[in-house]
Symmetry: C3
Subunit: 210 residues, 3 copies
């Protein structure tokens, strides 16, 4: 299988996994089937849509290739119908989510570089591709986005994006770069889950009123 085809397959897999996480959030909050689908589609495609808006590559990717939209809808409906099945598959879902995260990151960073963005811009585009959908899921669920509070998640993306940028500057072939950077994100994320790693947090000083 060519390199592009592997990335595409992982991209679709990640889309389904992200849609499932959005749909589950909707089910948990007692949304109706339409709300569950909306939350699934937003979680799965929100990051890439925001990236394409900022890069002015419109209409965004999922409107050019609607397979992403159909996949997100189907995954959301399956979750709506059998949410308990996904509870039992919790570990597998986290691994699929990590796969999606790493894939989305390298796709976003790579695309930003092809639009001649700089270091910060490319890393941000990668992180945004990986995390903006999940942030929208949490905002629409009326919660502080999880990735801002806990866990090595967006930060794993940032490290992977920085690696991608560096390897790109050194002329490492795209295929090797995609694989190495995605694997770094997936590895950090999975190890962080297993070990319970967290970043230092602010002290939540509620008395601070600015």
């Amino acid at each position: 299988m060519a390199n592009n085809e592997i990335v595409y397959a992982l991209d679709l897999l990640g889309t389904a996994a992200f849609a499932a996480s959005g749909a589950l959030a909707g089910v948990r909050r007692g949304m109706d089937i339409f709300g569950v689908i909306v939350l699934g589609v937003v979680t799965a495609t929100g990051g890439g849509v925001m990236r394409d808006l900022l890069l002015n590559d419109t209409p965004p990717f999922c409107f050019k290739n609607e397979l992403y939209l159909y996949l997100a809808v189907v995954a959301s409906v399956i979750v709506f119908l059998t949410p308990r099945r996904f509870e039992r598959m919790r570990k597998a879902m986290l691994i699929l989510d990590a796969l999606g995260l790493g894939t989305f990151l390298v796709i976003g960073t790579s695309k930003a570089l092809s639009f001649h963005l700089g270091f910060m811009g490319s890393v941000i585009m990668g992180v945004m591709t990986g995390t903006f959908g999940g942030m929208m899921r949490d905002v629409l669920s009326n919660e502080i986005p999880l990735i801002l509070k806990h866990e090595i998640y967006a930060s794993a993306c940032a490290v992977g994006g920085a690696l991608f940028y560096a390897l790109h500057q050194y002329g490492v072939p795209e295929g090797i770069n995609l694989t190495a950077s995605a694997l770094l994100v997936i590895t950090i994320r999975c190890v962080a889950i297993i070990k319970g790693w967290q970043l230092p947090r602010g002290k939540g000083m509620e008395q601070l009123h600015f």
Copy 2:
């Protein structure tokens, strides 16, 4: 009156009705007059602005024809000054809101088709034109968007959008299509209000932690 002029008139009516619903949400949460206006304008124009951003038709419609903005501001100020009047007009407001919903849907779907989007893209653009403003209203009011939780609302849009796409594919004249699809949305929405129809909901399994 030509067909375009009827759509335009309904579009303005819907803009005023949506602005009123946003402004009322602001009044209820004790916002000041400026916040009420912001919420009114965002509710009235947010859907069309998001659609135009995604289709890259910028600046978005209400910056090309500022009548939409003035109308939304005026409607918001009237609601701010006499909110109780709108309480007494609750039924009329729901009907006006349904009129706006149907009109916004057909405008969005029709525009997406003229930008050569596919089935899912066109339906999503229509649904987004009809519902994104209301979702922003709820997010800014710190609530889970109502349309994700209850009532036949966005789903009425989706059905109308699918009809519009199908009739368009079969070569039905635009004017008939606009009328038929908008009427379908308005009818579903109004019947759903009267009958209290709801979509099946997830079981809100709070114990599910994914």
Copy 3:
């Protein structure tokens, strides 16, 4: 120092001040360092990014000149490490925030006029440049945006934007206009803080259900 350079210096100062306010909000909610940086960057750049998306000037300003991004990250990290220092500097921070508000307003309104927007569009672009980042900060912190509820803040921007538009129509030189309009916003904002001015508010009629 040329006029443009003064605006640029104030723009950077405002960026740092806005990033600090976003980062402080993150610290208060117990976010980790990555979340604090995200909130700082979004608060500092969100308004200008949204303006550039709506005007279709992409990639948005901070991706063309990454100094804005680096500055926001550095300011956020400093706040994360020493949040109490910023508590003691509360008054200075409010003044810096007002400086940023006035500067962001004139930059946004001026840019909108160069894109041939009308009165409402130009004022909205200015207000959005000044306030959208702070609204995102509050939404991501799961709060109703402060500027919709209390204080003369966005409304000071709107007055300044209207003045800028009027002086522009009368052919007042850009440099004088920038200074006068920004000073008006800063003055209104500072006097409002000192005097505790508020706009009239809705009566928060929770019994109103529309």
